[in-house]
């Protein structure tokens, strides 16, 4: 299978480098060599069949936050039809198996995106569409609220650059994702089950009342000032500005 052969190539490269380089940052954990994977005709055929059935009917979630969604939506139309690839846009994450993050993800949107991703059933795939979702794009220098890249939130399979990427580029990304799915090995998928790394502790935070009561807070409503009162700040402000003016002269 193609996936196994690329791993062998990478390991050989690293062993060559290891003689020369002393320290490695961000090191990687190598896979075990003694994986007992069957290589019979029947299991590979079944594997290919299951891969084919999944890649031919990838149903994307109808998700878009900003400009990239325009390009994604144009795919639904007749000119760049993506139904010919089997893609039917679904509104519910429970029925979708692909999420094309079309549009900038801000810190306000981030928990909702993670929640949508968690609600999708396995096997699920993510295409990070557009520069904003890859590294923050045009917002990566000065923005205070944009998440710099959606791979800080969810695992991404295919990165699709462009601002915005043309519909043909999106189709190219979908084709690459289909090729990636065709190389998957079923045993890898079932072996990697989730472990529980869950830790609960008590906290001493101040639990306040919820502000989502449905009523407007009366203190925040605009009260027009009554004309009989002159606010003392403006009075002193005028007075001080007059006095400073005198002092300058």
């Amino acid at each position: 299978m193609a996936k196994r052969s690329t791993r062998v190539v990478l390991i050989l490269e690293y062993l060559d480098n290891k003689k020369n380089i002393e320290t490695v940052m961000n090191s990687i954990e190598f896979p075990l060599f003694d994986r007992t994977t069957q290589n019979s005709v029947i299991s590979t055929t079944l594997n290919d069949l299951s891969n084919w059935s999944r890649l031919s009917s990838l149903w994307p979630l109808l998700y878009g936050t900003s400009c990239c969604f325009i390009e994604f939506a144009s795919l639904i139309g007749s000119r760049f039809d993506f139904d010919r690839y089997g893609l039917v846009p679904r509104s519910s994450p429970r029925q979708a198996d692909l999420i094309l993050t079309a549009g900038t993800v801000t810190m306000k949107m981030a928990p909702s995106l993670v929640r949508l991703y968690e609600q999708m059933p396995e096997p699920k795939y993510v295409i990070a569409m557009g520069a904003c979702t890859i590294t923050g794009g045009m917002f990566s220098t000065d923005s205070y609220s944009t998440v710099r890249g959606v791979d800080k939130l969810i695992p991404v399979d295919v990165y699709l650059p462009g601002c915005p990427p043309k519909p043909e580029a999106i189709i190219d990304a979908i084709t690459k994702l289909r090729k990636k799915i065709s190389r998957e090995i079923y045993e890898d998928r079932i072996r990697s089950q989730q472990e529980n790394r869950c830790f609960t502790t008590t906290h001493k935070f101040h639990v306040g009342r919820s502000t989502h009561t449905g009523n407007y807070d009366q203190g925040l409503l605009y009260q027009p000032p009554s004309t009989s009162e002159i606010p003392s700040e403006t009075f002193f402000k005028y007075k001080s500005s007059v006095s400073s003016h005198e002092m300058v002269n």
Partner: protein, 216 residues
């Protein structure tokens, strides 16, 4: 205690907003709160719980550890049911969610994943649900003890998403530090290889070789 704790952390904790919160809390309560007083503050918090439903579960008692470095997990509870998840409770899904750190203001049963939001005095940390790194129990306990330190440090802060996200981003920085120190590694068996905290690279050392990417 507080000073030794802050020197141990290499990250800058945002003190401005936090001191503001603590000041309000002090004015409202009219007695001073220090990081070491735990018992009185705990009672205060319990009284002020808005959604007070009678809990039949016994609350797990933790060891009062003055250092606060050791993680103090709550004892596992039985018969946990998902409570307070519906819309009437105002969508109070108080959480911080990033790729490696999920913090929820609830009790989550580690086996059945039942999500009990009525226990608002608990914070649950779920570490790396997507398995981007390889974890063993030592490194997990390091992150848990750092989480415990942060929770103790933010004592008295309001239970808002803002506070939880501050804690979450500090934990993400700590995970990144662990990665750069070589204590945790990327998991090559995961379905996606994102290297979201930087590609593996070699550090500059005495050799004349330029810094290479060990993996393209």
């Amino acid at each position: 205690m507080a000073t030794s704790f802050s020197s141990a952390l290499s990250t800058k904790l945002p003190m401005m907003g936090f001191t503001g919160c603590r000041r309000d809390f002090r004015n409202r309560k009219a007695f001073s709160i220090s990081a070491q007083q735990q018992a009185e503050v705990e009672e205060e918090v319990k009284v002020q719980q808005e959604q007070a439903q009678a809990q039949s579960n016994t609350d797990g008692t933790q060891n009062i550890n003055p250092k606060g470095v050791k993680p103090r997990p709550v004892e596992p509870q039985v018969n946990v049911k998902s409570k307070n998840m519906s819309r009437e409770y105002g969508g109070q899904w108080l959480s911080c969610a990033t790729r490696h750190v999920r913090i929820y203001a609830a009790y989550i049963d580690p086996v059945t994943w039942e999500f009990d939001q009525t226990q608002m005095d608990k914070l649950t940390l779920i570490l790396d649900p997507t398995d981007e790194f390889v974890w063993n129990s030592d490194t997990c306990n390091k992150v848990f003890s750092y989480f415990q330190e942060l929770v103790d440090h933010y004592e008295g802060a309001p239970l808002t998403e803002y506070t939880l996200r501050l804690i979450g981003s500090d934990i993400e920085h700590y995970i990144r530090k662990l990665l750069y120190d070589g204590e945790i590694k990327y998991n090559m068996n995961s379905k996606v290889l994102n290297f979201s905290m930087g590609k593996p690279r070699t550090m500059f050392n005495n050799n004349d070789l330029p810094a290479q990417e060990a993996l393209e």
